[in-house]
Subunit: 191 residues, 2 copies
Amino acid sequence: MGRSMSRLTAERLQELYAGTLQLVADHGYDNVTMDQVAEATRSSKATLYRQWGSKSALVVEALQCVGGTDLDLPDTGSLRGDFLAMVDRKEGQEHDADMLAAIMHAVRDDKELAEAVRGKILEPGRDRIREVVARAVERGEVAADCPGLVFVDYVFIAPIVLHHLLEGEEPSPDFLRRYIDGALLPALGLH
Amino acid sequence: MGRSMSRLTAERLQELYAGTLQLVADHGYDNVTMDQVAEATRSSKATLYRQWGSKSALVVEALQCVGGTDLDLPDTGSLRGDFLAMVDRKEGQEHDADMLAAIMHAVRDDKELAEAVRGKILEPGRDRIREVVARAVERGEVAADCPGLVFVDYVFIAPIVLHHLLEGEEPSPDFLRRYIDGALLPALGLH
């Protein structure tokens, strides 16, 4: 696909991604058509298909952009500092859970979307968590044979995905910070 | 609502609940109509409405029944034993994650469903986890001031909800058992 990204400014692209994800969060991935995306983002359907090729490619790229997996990893010198920096970046992303719920549902029926979401968003996100923890092991902060190492991504992601389901609202930055100290670090043997 | 449950045998009820949840897992809560439920479960729509009053009431009761929140709590004498007993009961519930994904998506748009799911399924489930942990605190197994106590439900639920999203399949009983030892008990200060 010979993309011509240069035609869209970074600002326009952000706007287009945000509009796409808002539609997915509101109506569910399955129910959103490229016509609706075109209308909501004031684009032409031809442009959307030329640029992204398919709805799944557009949504995955939008999620990648919003997910921030392209940001530099924090390196504060302590695992606690790195985890805090990672969740602080999540502040203001109010629709995280909406989109996640919509995507979780959609990937169950759509193998192409599922593979793209896993390969381009979930795996890179898990790699970032593992990388930060691997550095803590290198520093001797976490034991190399700590049994929690293989589960750290599950424990890290849990409050981000589950808080809305359990409490009816996004987790506050304060909740996430307390969770890091009360559950995530202890799961790695740090108290 | 004057129910006449006696008309349906326990077996027939199980079958009806299973058929309803299968539809929800396959098509999403929003997309399932009472007509479809009636057809799939070989019931009349009039019977369904007389018995449950609404789609949300039917689905919530089906989830309650399948979720097993009415089962006796295990009391093995150790927290590890109780947790193991709780996840072992999950074996064979292959569609857990499908339904959960469908329900997570649906509750975001439907306040009535959201309240029913939280009040009748999620809260009782969290209470069960907390009850098992409270007993461990009474026994002196877990410190009463352990900071992980308030987050134990998140850490417990994480692999059940997230495994399918992250790995594309339900967690195996063996994975859940290793998670209990590697992440859940350590988050409560037990190693």
